[in-house]
C-alpha cells in the first residue's frame, strides 16, 4: 500500500484507514476495495480514477454506508471530522447521508422522482435533515438552485425533472446533494452521461461549490484527463487497490507507476493529431494467434468487392421526421424533424466521422445509413444502388449483410439469453459464410482473439463481461457478417479510456488490414480527430460542415464548429503516445 498523504497538521475532514470491501463470502468472495486508505481536507478535491471494475464506485458507496449485501465491509475505519463512523450502522448512516455527506450520482433519470417537483425534492431533503420550517426550506431550496446556476429558481421549483435537459438535471442532482450543507460531497461519475462542453461545466461548478461552501469533494471518474484539470489530488485505483496517489500535478505530470502512464496515454488528445498506433499492443493471446490469422484470412476472403470508383454510401437530401402526436386535425399534429436535408458521400475505405451534441440527429442518420429507418424524403444509395429498394428486392439479404452496426449501449446490444459464442456465430450461420460447423467454430474463436478476448470465455453469457469487453463482442458480431461498411454509433461513450483505446485501435486496424469503410459517430471530438479521415459536424438535424479532419480542426469554417472547438479541454502532457511518456 502506498501512503496517500503524510500526516497533516490540520484536522482531516475524512480519514479512511485500510478499508476493505468484498462481495460474497468464503472462497467465492471478490475483494472490490482492498486495503484503501485516504485523507481529505475541507475545500479539497480528491479525484479517484481508474477503469471500470477498479472498485471506485464500491468505495464511494461504501463511504456512504450503502455497501449493501452481497457487498460487505471486511475491515477498516472511517473518521468524519475526527469522529469514527460505523458504516454498518444503518440508523446512524441515515443521519449522516444527505446531512453530512452529499451524493451526486451518474444516472440523473433514476435519481430524480419523475412525479415530484424539483421544489419537493429539495425541501423534503432540507426539512429531513435541518430543523427549519417550510418557508425557510423553500428559501434554502431557491438558494441551492441559484448556487448551481439554474436561472429563475423561484419558477423552476414548480417544475418536474423531465422539464430539464440532461445537463440541467445533473445540476439539480448537485443542488440536491448540497442543499443540506454537507461537509463532504461524493460525486460518482457525475459527467459520464453528458457531452463534452457540459462535462466541463459540471466539473467547474462542483469545484467552485466545494471552495465556496467549505466542503470536501471526492470525484469518482474513469476520465483521468477531465478530472485531472479540477482536482487537487488524484488517486489511481486498479482492481481495488491504490496504484498511485498524490497531488494532481505530480500524478498527471510525472506519473510514477506504469499503469498511471497507461491511463494517461489512453486519453486521446483533442488539440493535435496523433495517429493511433497499429494494433501492436492490442491484448491478443499469443497461443490464439493461429486462429486469429485464420479469422483474418476469412475476413479478407469475404472482402472481394468490385472497385467501382463510386462512393460507397451516398445520402442525397435525406430527411427524417418522427410523429410526436397524431391527429385528424392538421393543426394539432406534431412532428419533429430529426434529420433535415442531409447530403453526404462516404468513399470506400474511408473512416468518416460524424460529430454533434446529443439530440443532433446523429443516431437517426446512422439508422438511415444502415437501412433500419426509411427516410421520409431523399435518397440513400449504397454501392450505387438505392438502399431501400435493394433491401426489399431479391439481393436484399446480401446487402443487409454488407452493412453492420455497433451500438452505443453495450448492455442492451447483446441478447442476454444467448452465449456470446452463439451471438457471434449467428450471422455466419444465417448466411452460411463458412464451410461447416467446424469452420464456424474456428472462425468464431479467431474473431474472439482478433478483438482481443480470450476464446476460452466464448461459452459465457454477455452479463459476465465488462462494458468494454461487451463492446468488443458487439464488434466481433458485426465482423462475423463480413461487412463492407461498418457504422459505429458512439461505440466508446459508455466505456472507460482504456477500453476506448482498445476499440479505437481495433477500428484503425480494421481499416488498415481489411480496408473497411467506417462511419464513426461520436460527440467526442478527440476520438474523431484521432481516427477519422473526414468529419461532418451536425447540429439540430442539419449538417454544418464537412471537411478533412485536419482542415476542420485547424480551419473551422462554420461558427458552430468553432464554438465546439473552443470548448475542448487542454491535452494532458503524456496522452496518446505523446512521445516521452510511453511506458
Amino acid at each position: 500500500m502506498i501512503p496517500v498523504a503524510e500526516a497533516e497538521t490540520t484536522a482531516d475532514l475524512l480519514e479512511v484507514c485500510n478499508l476493505t470491501i468484498a462481495y460474497g463470502i468464503g472462497t467465492r468472495a471478490v475483494t472490490a476495495v482492498d486495503d484503501v486508505s485516504l485523507r481529505l481536507r475541507s475545500r479539497e478535491i480528491l479525484a479517484i480514477v481508474g477503469e471500470s471494475g477498479a472498485g471506485k464506485s464500491t468505495l464511494a458507496s461504501g463511504l456512504l454506508g450503502l455497501a449493501d449485501p452481497p457487498a460487505r465491509i471486511v475491515r477498516g475505519e472511517v473518521r468524519l471530522a475526527g469522529r469514527a463512523i460505523d458504516l454498518d450502522d444503518e440508523a446512524a448512516m441515515r443521519r449522516i447521508r444527505g446531512r453530512r455527506i452529499g451524493l451526486v450520482v451518474q444516472d440523473t433519470q433514476a435519481a430524480l422522482d419523475p412525479l415530484c417537483t424539483v421544489g419537493r425534492h429539495l425541501t423534503e431533503t432540507i426539512t429531513t435533515h435541518l430543523p427549519v420550517d417550510r418557508r425557510e426550506a423553500r428559501a434554502r431550496a431557491i438558494e441551492a438552485l441559484r448556487s448551481v446556476g439554474i436561472t429563475g429558481p423561484e419558477l423552476r421549483l414548480g417544475h418536474y425533472p423531465h422539464q430539464f435537459s440532461g445537463g440541467m438535471r445533473q445540476r439539480l442532482v448537485v443542488a440536491l446533494a448540497i442543499c443540506a450543507k454537507p461537509e463532504l460531497v461524493i460525486a460518482d461519475e457525475p459527467t459520464t452521461n453528458l457531452d463534452a462542453p457540459r462535462k466541463r461545466q459540471i466539473l467547474d461548478l462542483l469545484g467552485a461549490l466545494c471552495r465556496d461552501h467549505e466542503m470536501g469533494l471526492i470525484l469518482v471518474s474513469h476520465d483521468i484527463g477531465l478530472v485531472g484539470a479540477v482536482a487537487d489530488r488524484v488517486m489511481v485505483m486498479r482492481r481495488g487497490r491504490i496504484v498511485e496517489a498524490g497531488a494532481a500535478g505530480d500524478v498527471l505530470g510525472n506519473p510514477m507507476q506504469p499503469y498511471t502512464r497507461e491511463l494517461i496515454r489512453a486519453v486521446p488528445p483533442a488539440r493535435r493529431r496523433q495517429r493511433l498506433l497499429p494494433r501492436a499492443e492490442a491484448p491478443v493471446a499469443a497461443e490464439g494467434s493461429a486462429s486469429v490469422a485464420l479469422a483474418k484470412a476469412w475476413l479478407v476472403a469475404g472482402r472481394r468487392f468490385e472497385p467501382s470508383g463510386l462512393p460507397l454510401l451516398e445520402l442525397d437530401e435525406v430527411t427524417m421526421t418522427f410523429v410526436l402526436r397524431r391527429s385528424w386535425l392538421a393543426s394539432r399534429r406534431r412532428s419533429e424533424r430529426a434529420v433535415d436535408r442531409v447530403t453526404l458521400e462516404i468513399q470506400p475505405g474511408e473512416m468518416f466521422g460524424l460529430v454533434g451534441e446529443s439530440g443532433s440527429g446523429k443516431s437517426t442518420l446512422a439508422r438511415i445509413a444502415s437501412g433500419l429507418y426509411q427516410p421520409v424524403s431523399g435518397k440513400v444509395r449504397f454501392a450505387g444502388a438505392d438502399l431501400q429498394a435493394t433491401l426489399a428486392g431479391r439481393g436484399g439479404l446480401e446487402v443487409r449483410r454488407q452493412v453492420q452496426m455497433v451500438f452505443q449501449d453495450p448492455f442492451s446490444s447483446l441478447d442476454a439469453r444467448w452465449r456470446v459464442l452463439d451471438i457471434i456465430a449467428e450471422p455466419i450461420r444465417l448466411h452460411g459464410l463458412t464451410g461447416g460447423p467446424a469452420e464456424t467454430r474456428d472462425v468464431v474463436r479467431g474473431l474472439f482473439g482478433y478483438v482481443g478476448l480470450d476464446a476460452h470465455a466464448s461459452d459465457r453469457y454477455p452479463h459476465q463481461f465488462s462494458a468494454g469487453q461487451r463492446q468488443r463482442i458487439a464488434l466481433a458480431r458485426a465482423l462475423a457478417a463480413r461487412p463492407r461498411f461498418l457504422i459505429c454509433d458512439e461505440p466508446t461513450s459508455a466505456l472507460d479510456v482504456v477500453s476506448q483505446e482498445i476499440i479505437l485501435r481495433l477500428l484503425a486496424a480494421l481499416r488498415q488490414e481489411l480496408g473497411m469503410t467506417v462511419l464513426l459517430i461520436s460527440h467526442d471530438l478527440a476520438v474523431i480527430r484521432q481516427t477519422c479521415d473526414r468529419v461532418a459536424v451536425m447540429r439540430a438535424g442539419r449538417l454544418c460542415e464537412i471537411a478533412a479532419t485536419e482542415t476542420l480542426f485547424e480551419h473551422p469554417q462554420h461558427p458552430y464548429t468553432r464554438e465546439l472547438l473552443a470548448l475542448l479541454p487542454r491535452d494532458l502532457p503524456g496522452s496518446a503516445g505523446g512521445g516521452t511518456a510511453v511506458g
Binding site: R401, M405, R417, E426, L430, H431, A478
Partner: protein, 295 residues
C-alpha cells in the same frame, strides 16, 4: 432441459418447490392406485357411510381417513381423483391460453398497425366481460354448435377450450407490451442488420427474453383456471358432478359447512392450496433458472 431442471433445483427453495410439485403430480397421476375407494363407481359407495367425520375424531371411521361426504364418498379418494381432473383441465387450458396469447401478443407487438389494432380491439372487448362470464358464454356456444349429446371427453374438451379462450387476453396484452419494449432494443436491431427474419427474431431473441413474466403469469393463471373450472362445474356446465373435480368438491362440500361437516370442503380446499402453491413456487424457480443473468 435437464440443466434447467438442475438449475431449478439449485435456486433458493428450489428443492422444496420441485419436490412439492413432484408429489402433487405424482399423487394426481397414480391417485387411483392409492385411493382406498373409487368415488366414480357407484357400487363402491354406500349411503350408510354418509357424512362421517375424519378418522381421528370421535365419530370417525378408520376406513375413511378424511371422512366422507353426504353421499358416503371417501373424501381422500375424491380428492385424489378430483385433482387429476382439475390439473388436467387447468393445465391444458393455461398452456392453450399461453400459446394463443403469446402468439397474438408477439405478432401485434411486433407488427403494430392493423394487426395490432384488430387483435387488441378484440382483446379489449373481451376484457370488458369477467373471464368467468366469457368462459360460460364460450362453453354455451360450443355446446350449442356441437349439439346436446356430449360424452365425458367432449365435455372436458369444451371446458378446456372455454377457459383457454377466456384467459388468452391477459397473455396477449402482456406479451404485446413486452415485445414492443424488446423490439426497440439494439440487440434486436443487430439481428435485423444481419438479415434475420421476423420469425427468427421473435422466436429466438424476443421470446426467450420475455419468457420470465409469461411463466409467472401462467402459474398464477393455473390457480385461476382451477377456480374457473370449479365454478363452471358448479353451475352445471363443466365436468359432471358424478366425476367431481377439486373445485366441484369444494362447492358441493361448502353446502354442508353450516351443518358442521367442515371436512367436506376444507380438505379439498387444502389440496387445491397445496397444488397452487407448488405450481407457483416451481414457476418462480423456473423463471430464475432460465435466466442466465441470475446464475
Amino acid at each position: 432441459m435437464a440443466s434447467v431442471l438442475h438449475r431449478s433445483v439449485r435456486a433458493r427453495g428450489g428443492v422444496a418447490a420441485v419436490v412439492l410439485c413432484a408429489l402433487v403430480f405424482l399423487a394426481a397421476f397414480v391417485g387411483p392406485a392409492l385411493a382406498p375407494q373409487n368415488p366414480f363407481d357407484l357400487a363402491d359407495i354406500d349411503l350408510s357411510n354418509a357424512s362421517i367425520p375424519p378418522a381421528w375424531l370421535a365419530a370417525g371411521d378408520p376406513r375413511f381417513l378424511l371422512g366422507t361426504d353426504d353421499q358416503g364418498r371417501d373424501i381422500l379418494s375424491a380428492i385424489l381423483y378430483g385433482a387429476r381432473i382439475s390439473l388436467l383441465v387447468s393445465l391444458s387450458a393455461v398452456v392453450l391460453a399461453m400459446l394463443l396469447g403469446t402468439a397474438v401478443g408477439l405478432l401485434s407487438g411486433w407488427y403494430g398497425g392493423i394487426v395490432d389494432a384488430v387483435t387488441m380491439r378484440i382483446a379489449d372487448v373481451q376484457l370488458t366481460f369477467p373471464a368467468l362470464l366469457v368462459a360460460l358464454l364460450i362453453d354455451g356456444l360450443i355446446r350449442g354448435a356441437i349439439g346436446g349429446a356430449t360424452g365425458e371427453t367432449t365435455a372436458l374438451l369444451v371446458v378446456i377450450a372455454a377457459i383457454a379462450l377466456s384467459l388468452w387476453v391477459q397473455f396477449a396484452r402482456m406479451v404485446r407490451a413486452l415485445t414492443m419494449v424488446e423490439a426497440g432494443k439494439p440487440y434486436v436491431d443487430a439481428g435485423r442488420l444481419i438479415g434475420a427474419r421476423p420469425a427468427r427474431l421473435l422466436l429466438l431473441h424476443v421470446l426467450p427474453n420475455i419468457a420470465g413474466p409469461i411463466f409467472v403469469m401462467a402459474t398464477l393463471d393455473l390457480a385461476f383456471a382451477i377456480v374457473v373450472e370449479s365454478t363452471l362445474s358448479y353451475l352445471g356446465v363443466g365436468v359432471s358432478a358424478a366425476r367431481p373435480s377439486l373445485g366441484t368438491l369444494i362447492r358441493l362440500g361448502s353446502d354442508f359447512l353450516y351443518s358442521g361437516a367442515w371436512w367436506m370442503t376444507v380438505f379439498p380446499g387444502a389440496a387445491l392450496f397445496v397444488i397452487v402453491l407448488a405450481v407457483n413456487l416451481l414457476g418462480d424457480r423456473w423463471r430464475d433458472a432460465i435466466d442466465p443473468r441470475l446464475q
